[in-house]
């Protein structure tokens, strides 16, 4: 091996050279791979260190990283939502809530505005007038509305940088050059801050969006970086708010960079002015009505008018009903004949006939709710033959006791019940009958005999004058009995005469059953005549006495035959109290 060393040395170099020639490229690739392998193994920790910086570096250079990451991030979010939606929901809630609220609030405001204008145009008196005009002239309603369309003029539009309050751009109507819009812009921002600080404590409530100063309304639309404010003279239409929103969104889109990097240089915003001027161009109308009545103002009037009309109609209806009822009542009332009924200007007038016994017409009218002070009436007196009235009249003229009832049968007045004897006698004697009555029928009235008369009557009728067998002469011992009867009857007669009653005395002669009937009848008559003579001798008026020869036909009753025979050999007494022309006896 040692003898080969001398050429070995140069041979090594050659070999290396040869190796380099043949394998050089591969070897370098191997080394590179080796280095990369080493690097990969080393930098897991280092990578963690470097990754954030690397991302920042690359993101600053171009959008490649974002593009590369986008699908992964989207997938990751999708996966996260699929697995646990709550997490994402919680994370974005603070952003989502206000955004949704604002969207809903804006949508509602728009809705309310369109409802307002629809209402205003359709139900207002002006709207109706316009419809009439459209119908009359044949011009479409929309054009009529446009012709009269409510007047407003957007005088100025400010585009204001939200954070600094600096004026970015400003447009105004040529005839009204504004003064110091930059100061106004600042102050407007300050005032909005002031209002938000003072009242809207819950953070981002959108700030002061609309305020009115006399004829002027300032409408403000707030964006994240800029604010658009329009100064409107007259009735600011709510549609303008939508226009402002639209323009503000376009400003944010077109001037996104200029807004983000705003440092006080307003030059980049100069091209935005035509955009603002669009708002100015929306305006117009010159024939604005003076003293235009807003719905809020006229609605109560209309409501009041409707109410009043309804009330009047109601009152009229009630008055009509009252009138009808009054007329019906008067017509149906017995004793009243309505010949004329008129109504004018709230005054009622009536004319006709009235029975004095008919109810007072004013009282009848008052009972249906009529104002009797507004009623005039002329009533001629007459006598009604309606049964109610006849009866009423009779009741009045006869001084009818409450125990007697009346009924009318044709032209006869029939009385029923019971009445004092004196009243019956007086009524029977009464010469004049109530109007409409030809006769009185008192037969069904039970007389009430005064107690004094009744007791005397009982006393007389309890007595009897007894006779001896076959004899018609009054026994001496019976004379006292006759005297008693004569005295009592005289008293009774005088007492009855006081109340207009004529008292009569019937003497009933009887015999015992023995003997022939004809003999007995004659005997009974003789006995009655004997008592009559005795009574007349004692001063009893002959014409008050009536004789009855009963014989044996109507015997007095007794259990024992001897006693019966004894008491029937007698004359007994029956008192009659005559109170009417018929001479009818009162019931016993």
């Amino acid at each position: 091996m040692s003898d080969r060393a001398p050429w070995d040395s140069p041979a090594v170099d050659d070999l290396a050279e040869l190796r380099e020639l043949i394998l050089g490229a591969e070897r370098r690739r191997l080394q590179e791979l080796e280095r990369r392998l080493d690097a990969a193994g080393l930098t897991r920790e280092e990578l963690a260190e470097l990754l954030p910086e690397a991302i920042v570096l690359r993101a600053g250079r171009d959008r490649q990283l974002a593009r590369a990451l986008a699908p992964t991030v989207e997938n990751a979010i999708g996966e996260s939502v699929r697995r646990n939606p709550r997490q994402i929901a919680t994370a974005i809630f603070p952003v989502l809530g206000p955004a949704i609220r604002k969207a809903i609030a804006d949508a509602l405001a728009g809705l309310v505005a369109s409802i307002n204008s629809a209402l205003e145009h359709s139900v207002s008196p002006r709207g109706l007038r316009w419809r009439l005009e459209a119908w009359r002239t044949g011009v479409p309603f929309a054009q009529i509305v446009l012709k009269h369309a409510l007047v407003y003029r957007v005088e100025q539009v400010f585009l204001i940088h939200a954070e600094t309050g600096l004026l970015l751009s400003h447009a105004w109507t040529p005839e009204l050059p504004p003064s110091d819009p930059d100061l106004v812009s600042g102050m407007l921002t300050a005032i909005r801050d002031f209002v938000a600080d003072s009242f809207a404590r819950d953070g981002d409530a959108g700030g002061l969006r609309r305020f009115t100063v006399g004829e002027l309304t300032v409408m403000v639309e707030q964006g994240p970086q800029a604010v658009l404010a329009a100064v409107v003279r007259g009735q600011a239409p709510d549609a303008l708010l939508g226009k402002l929103q639209d323009i503000l969104e376009r400003v944010h889109l077109e001037y996104a960079d200029a807004l983000a990097g705003f440092e006080g240089d307003t030059t980049p915003f100069e091209p935005a002015r035509p955009l603002l001027e669009e708002c100015l161009a929306t305006v117009i109308s010159t024939d604005r009505e003076k003293g235009r009545v807003r719905p809020a103002a006229w609605l109560p009037w209309v409501a009041a008018a409707v109410l009043v009309l309804a009330l009047l109609a109601g009152l009229r209806f009630r008055s009509e009903q009252r009138w009808q009822r009054a007329v019906e009542l008067l017509e149906s009332e017995p004793g009243i004949v309505l010949t004329q009924a008129e109504r004018s200007g709230g005054r009622w007038s009536f004319a006709g006939l009235r029975d004095p016994l008919a109810p007072e017409p004013a009282a009848l009218l008052a009972s249906v709710g009529a104002d009797t002070s507004e009623v005039s009436a002329t009533w001629e007196p007459y006598l009604s033959l309606r049964p109610e009235l006849v009866l009423a009249r009779a009741r009045r003229s006869l001084s009818l006791p409450s125990t007697v009832s009346l009924e009318q049968v044709d032209d006869t007045l029939r009385l029923r019940g019971s009445a004092p004897l004196g009243w019956l006698a007086a009524t029977a004697r009464q010469a004049s009958l109530p109007a409409g009555v030809a006769a009185l029928d008192l037969r069904r009235v039970e007389p009430i005999v005064p107690p004094e008369l009744a007791s005397m009557e009982r006393e007389i009728e309890g007595r009897r004058v007894l006779f001896d067998i076959g004899v018609a002469a009054v026994r001496p011992e019976e004379r006292a009995e006759v005297a008693e009867v004569a005295a009592t009857f005289a008293r009774l007669r005088a007492r009855a005469a006081e109340i207009g009653v004529r008292a009569g005395l019937e003497l009933v002669g009887r015999t015992d059953p023995s003997g022939a009937d004809s003999t007995n009848r004659a005997l009974s008559r003789s006995r009655a005549e004997a008592v009559l003579a005795a009574l007349v001798a004692r001063g009893v008026a002959r014409d008050a006495i009536h004789l009855t020869a009963a014989g044996t036909t109507d015997p007095l009753a007794a259990a024992d035959p001897a006693e019966r025979a004894r008491i029937n050999r007698s004359v007994s007494f029956v008192v009659s109290l005559g109170w009417d022309g018929t001479g009818r006896e009162p019931a016993r």
Binding site: L166, G186, A190, I191, D193, F194, D265
Partner: protein, 169 residues
Amino acid sequence: MIQKKVCMVGLFGTGKTSLVQRFVTSLFSDRYLSTVGVKIDRKPVELDGSSVTLVLWDLAGRDSHEDITTSYLRGAHAILYVADGTRRETCDQLPELRQLTRDAAGDVPMVLALNKVDLRDRWALERGDEEALEKEWDIVRTSAKTGDGVEEAFRRIARGTLVAREARS
């Protein structure tokens, strides 16, 4: 056109409002200060051939910096502090005032107007105090009465905002 929002802050009685009164274009009355708490004026400044319009937000300052409505500071491009040289407490409040404005408006150029320089004989600040202030503040000594230093203060503000803008862009 370049506009800058400049907030003026300072305690009540530092002469803040009267300091600028003669130099600015006003539209609103001083009443706004006591009602809304801010009054806005305009001050155009010519600077090395370019013109800047300063929109001055004069913030009502009462007895303490806590009375300031901080939302008015939002977005300010510069702050002009006003202190009264004859009242020491108006200078003592400055650090708190600065903190307040930094919280609301960020790190923006600041100029301190040390006002009432016409009343030097009643000056309440020692030389040492002023030197200490100089280290931290860009100070302009002003007088509302004579007008001294006011234009200079505005120019410095304007320059500050322009420099800050270039630095940021």
